[in-house]
Subunit: 409 residues, 2 copies
């Protein structure tokens, strides 16, 4: 029995007995999510440059807001007054918020938590929005706003309170994401703190759910930590699975470790997870990682890659032009595309590919037109969303391995 | 008989005998334009942040590209390879390009050619894209690119050649826009040069039309100059009207002169213009100016105000909230809008007003989300376009004066 009971539902189907890859359906009060599903990020209550209408056209089923940013601006009380995150931004479908922990810890460490080849640009992005001072204690975290230097405190209770007000369908327990690399000792300490905070998050969730009856529909996911250490990950997987969470998120990956290390984590953790709860992988979204993590039994994952790399002019293309080596992307800013009259991606059915040529999108990036960022974000999100739909179909038809082979060999 | 003959057509209807205000229809090979019509500016082959699909939804009938910018990037040969300006950017409707003259002269003088209250910001905008070196001779103008410092020359012949390749439905003769203030002597010299260039533009237009048969559909407008001097404006109006242009544009207004001076120019010029040619007013788009210039017999006008001021957070609202004093705009960045759950503009039927609240758009501007610029541009363009449709209807129904009174008193 989970904390939310029957207000949140997850059905799961395996395509065949050979594979851990699974298709499912999450039912939330704001709609259903067919899994595996990609979850685009709308940090400040906006998936950058796109409208809710765009997200609907693209086929987005759920999007991810960041509690740290929304707490600072416009503040959870404003969002609550407008009827919650979805209503505030004009989005009728399901939403998810994180606990704020990732921003507090990872950004502050001036690391590059999201894997990408253009990490220099990203580092700057993240530094600009990083809190300037963070102090971690067992009770919680104090930090200064990156906007005006004001002092704030996040505790498990505070994070849940904020997320209750933001009103997303799925919210996350407050956790500590240890950096990469971390010593075994530090990763253990962060994991143990995460476990205590998981229990406090659950307790506060019950209190708040009783208090704000209107938002009692929310589901709460616990987060598994433990760095790249097998014993810690196994301990964390068992502990978080033992608590009455509605779903399980795997955190602390895509923070700088190798692909092999990330897949090891999934290989250790997944066998210990309950079959009947949805599994979310935090911050993962490169195409090979998508296949590899779905193969290991992940249901949903969020990532800024399609929109952020899109804004830098990196645009998804299908095989054979797209491949593991080029990460299925072309750099549309390159001069070879200046006179290219083909659509961005062969066979892509999105509005951008139906309307614009590579040459025109190249021009938009070269002259830094605002439309550049919009069309690239739209196409990339459509492309990834469509890939998830293809993957889901392939699982249901028992040919996921074949599709994976076609894409990443 | 005009230079283009029957490939371009204009029909005009006056609502009543008391008023010079007129409704009409321009027929071009890419579609019809019901006048009075607003012409949004898409300087670099993009109406900033908006797609052609947006323009269609908004009801835009024609848009305005800038020859100076398009010549530098991507270059007219690239645009021609893609099938012309409209096809290059995925827009199926009519287009118009300027001669390049306005950018060469006005921007170079470090003035503020577009009237607005936020002129400081605009000045910076314009300085950044201004040519760094301009030399004007009777033969033409040499200048350095603001992008890479490369040397270029525009002559009437070159301007026509470029515009032939860009392939817009309506193109403009090369002119010299004298700055405000100018001495009578300088304004006269610039006007005389403009007249000679008008004749050379016409001659080259015939040569090029014979050469590029595919683009023989283009219509050519002459431009009236003469600063704020009655004798010059009258002389220019007579001279340009005597030539076989397809339409007449009035240039050299909205360059810093007072509203009264601008209206004087229209009062002097309009009685001397042929009734059967469409009249375009260059660079005008504040709401009171729209009413005042349509009242004086203008058919079309282009302006960056709806999109540029939109990007600064100035958003059009209807009377009574909008009035002459606030220029029918609210500054959505102001904190009074943070919790405002109303749509941006009462009774506005645009997608932005249907989807978003003032509070949310305020948030987008405060956190500098890309979507802010898009939704403000969309709404503002819809608002102005819709106002033109209302004005057209009022003229056809003989109640233009009444509508004008409701809006600007």
């Amino acid at each position: 029995m989970t904390v939310t009971g029957n207000k949140f539902k997850f059905d799961v189907i395996y395509g065949n007995k050979r594979s851990k890859a699974r298709a499912g359906r999450i039912t939330t009060p704001h709609g259903m999510i067919d899994t595996p599903a990609f979850v685009p990020v709308g940090t400040q209550a906006s998936v950058k440059s796109l409208t809710p209408q765009d997200l609907k056209e693209i086929g987005v089923q759920i999007f991810f807001g960041n509690t740290y940013h929304l707490h600072l601006r416009p503040g959870e009380d404003v969002v609550k007054e407008f009827g919650g995150l979805g209503k505030f931004m004009g989005w009728e479908g399901p939403t998810i918020t994180d606990s704020g922990g990732f921003q507090l810890f990872s950004l502050n460490r001036r690391t590059t938590p999201i894997k990408t080849r253009i990490s220099a640009d990203q580092r700057i992005d993240q530094r600009e929005s990083a809190p300037t001072l963070v102090k971690i204690k067992d009770d919680g975290v104090t930090f200064r706003s990156h906007i005006d230097g004001s002092l704030h405190e996040f505790t498990p209770e505070k994070s849940i309170e904020i997320q209750k007000k933001l009103g997303a369908d799925i919210i996350l327990a407050f956790d500590e994401c240890s950096p990469y690399p971390s010593t075994h000792q530090y990763a253990k300490q962060a994991m143990e703190r995460t476990h205590k905070w998981a229990q406090r998050s659950l307790a506060e969730f019950k209190v708040q759910s009783a208090k704000f009856k209107a938002n009692a529909y929310q589901a709460l996911y616990g987060i598994i930590q433990g760095g790249v250490y097998k014993d810690l990950r196994e301990e964390s997987a068992k502990f978080i699975s033992s608590l009455p969470f509605d779903g399980i998120a795997i955190g602390g990956v895509a923070v700088g470790e190798s692909k092999k290390e990330m897949l090891d984590v999934l290989d250790w953790v997944v066998p210990l997870l309950p079959e009947d709860k949805p599994r979310h992988l935090l911050g993962v979204g490169e195409i090979d990682d998508i296949f590899d993590s779905i193969e290991r039994g992940m249901d949903t994952m969020d990532c800024v890659i399609p929109t952020r790399l899109g804004r830098y002019g990196f645009i998804f293309v299908s095989p054979p032009e797209g491949n593991r080596k080029n990460k299925f992307m072309i750099d549309i800013k390159k001069s070879i595309f200046a006179k290219d009259q083909r659509p961005i991606a062969k066979d892509c059915k999105c509005n951008v590919c139906k309307t614009f040529t590579r040459g025109y999108v190249h021009h938009l990036f070269r002259v830094q037109e605002l439309l550049a960022y919009r069309v690239a974000s739209y196409h990339n999100l459509y492309f990834i969303n469509n890939l998830f739909a293809k993957i889901r179909k392939s699982i249901l038809e028992g040919r996921f391995e074949k599709l994976k082979k076609e894409w990443i060999g």
